[in-house]
Symmetry: C2
Subunit: 337 residues, 2 copies
């Protein structure tokens, strides 16, 4: 490994000068020819600063930890891409943890936080994060940003435009002529579920449509959970002609349940989901979705994690709008035809 003093020796200066040139220290006064000599040596000896030493000295590692609930989920993947991009732009690297492989990786994460190995932490994990991780981060004063989570006084919070997205989805069905619209929500205890539900209710109310409590069913954001949730919804409301699903993976499961009852999509039941995924268009019924600014969410998250000046609190992604992507899983209801 080439070190600062190797360069210093070659260039005939002290290592302090080399360090200050490499780090572009504005307060350093040095002759142009010395600077060139150093830069040349840096180039020739292929110098790269030792990250551990730099971290030790400056207490800044350039690493940001990101905890994802399930790496495999394409919805989260898009968030990761956004975070990845922003990290690169800001000269940071992303440390990845999968919350579903909980125990070992959580322990490791706690170690890393405690060992001042990271500059910031981003958590996308609906509830899957052990308390001790958060507690440790708070104690260690690691800037933490929670994605779509509940308020934690110690952390930053970023939300998606959930209410708007849900309203768009619901209005789309209403405009097609539906009146019997079910709501397959995400987990009950998540605040984003609440916001999406508000959007759904708002749209329903604006159209003057009443609804029973049984028209709302909560489930998790995976296919299997969506399937059982949808079964519950259909059992309780046989008259339904449309469903808005608050999560696209749950929607995929819901569609399976609908088909298993020999119902047609969208012939008998229309389905619209929040979050777009690349394969939505290739499903048995190409799925109409409302795309969320997930890339932007990931990007914003690392920006906030990096920027120490921002006061803690909640912010919402507002520079990108949810967008309705119309495909073939929605159509007017039979009675309206």
């Amino acid at each position: 490994m080439t070190t600062l003093s190797d360069i210093a020796k070659v260039a005939g200066v002290s290592s302090a000068v080399v360090s200050r040139i490499v780090n572009d220290d504005k307060t350093l006064r040095v002759s142009e020819e010395t600077r060139q000599r150093v830069l040349k040596a840096v180039e020739e000896l292929d110098y790269a600063p030792n990250i551990a030493a730099r971290t030790l000295r400056s207490a800044k590692s350039g690493l940001i930890a990101m905890v994802v609930h399930d790496v495999t989920n394409p919805v989260y993947a898009e968030i990761m891409r956004g975070a990845q991009t922003a990290a690169g732009d800001n000269n940071r690297a992303l440390l990845l943890f999968d919350a579903s492989a909980t125990e070992q990786s959580a322990s490791r994460l706690v170690d890393i936080i405690g060992g001042s190995g990271i500059d910031g932490m981003i958590i996308q994990s609906a509830g899957g994060i052990p308390e001790r991780v958060l507690a440790r981060a708070a104690r260690q004063k690691v800037p933490t940003v929670l994605l779509q989570a509940d308020l934690d006084a110690e952390a930053h919070l970023i939300c998606l435009p959930d209410e708007g997205a849900s309203e768009i989805a619901t209005n789309h069905l209403i405009e097609l002529g539906h009146r019997q619209i079910g709501c397959l929500s995400t987990a009950r205890d998540m605040t984003f579920s609440r916001r999406r539900l508000d959007g759904w209710k708002k749209a329903m109310a604006a159209a003057g449509i009443d609804h029973g409590a049984g028209q709302i069913v909560y489930c998790s954001s995976d296919m299997e959970s969506g399937r059982t949730g949808c079964a519950q919804l259909l059992d309780a409301n046989p008259e339904l002609t449309a469903v808005v699903c608050f999560n696209v993976m749950a929607a995929v499961g819901a569609m399976k349940e609908i088909w298993s009852r020999n119902l047609d999509i969208p012939g008998d039941i229309s389905v619209v989901a929040i979050h777009d995924v690349s394969f939505a268009e290739f499903l048995k019924a190409p799925l109409t979705t409302v795309a969320m600014p997930l890339f932007e969410l990931g990007k914003r998250a690392v920006e906030i994690a990096i920027d120490g000046t921002r006061p803690k609190g909640t912010s919402t992604i507002d520079n990108a709008e949810p967008e309705l992507i119309m495909r073939a899983s929605t159509a007017g209801p039979k009675t309206a035809r």
Copy 2:
């Protein structure tokens, strides 16, 4: 931050003892009561070793860099999950880089490699990796493992049981009665394409089926490329009753092309693909696939990256078999019905 000497002070010993107790140094002889005193102080003061200092001293960071071609691709996601799990088991953390966000993240990666910030590197990126990353890793003697790539003398190599998987897929079609079977390969210059092609040819030959050169078309592993590749295949071979796709995402695109020609799957054309994904069962035609041991691939990759004793060379995942997952995109050909 709590440091070794904080602990030492509280426990009334030297920091050397604390370090050696924390690291479970077998050569240390210490009285049981001292050990307990130290352990108690560690607990109470909430000590965690400073990673930077440890790295600086021992030149082992506990970090493994993983470069993924496209985080969003579910096929790669499964590899990541395997790697993530193995990393946790071995008390390492995974540093994630997305090759598609190439330039910034590549520069950052080179910096990190050069700065001795990582213990190993895993590259899953069909061609997307800048030369300088590999070169730097080699110069820095960072153990590098290439997934499904071409032989590089400096690196370890891990392959999937490609030939077997492809043979299984092709045999499945042959057993259904197909004789006119197209091959939608992955990229021409990849050795795994070659191996899969060998499997296809082997199955065809074993069944005594001749084929023309035009029955093989190469494309990339994404939906759009699969679509155009399939178009080419169908144009050149109108008599085809089945296609084996070497990549599942390409298969999804291929299906789109087939449908756009008003052909039915599997009525007119059967489709089978290599790699299983969670949504395969929910596609318009639930896709028959051959699942590959991707989790195992990721897992093995970090194990090899960690284990410095293993000689360089190629190894194949052989403790897990490709598995045919039959769904509804394959059936006997029309003429056979």
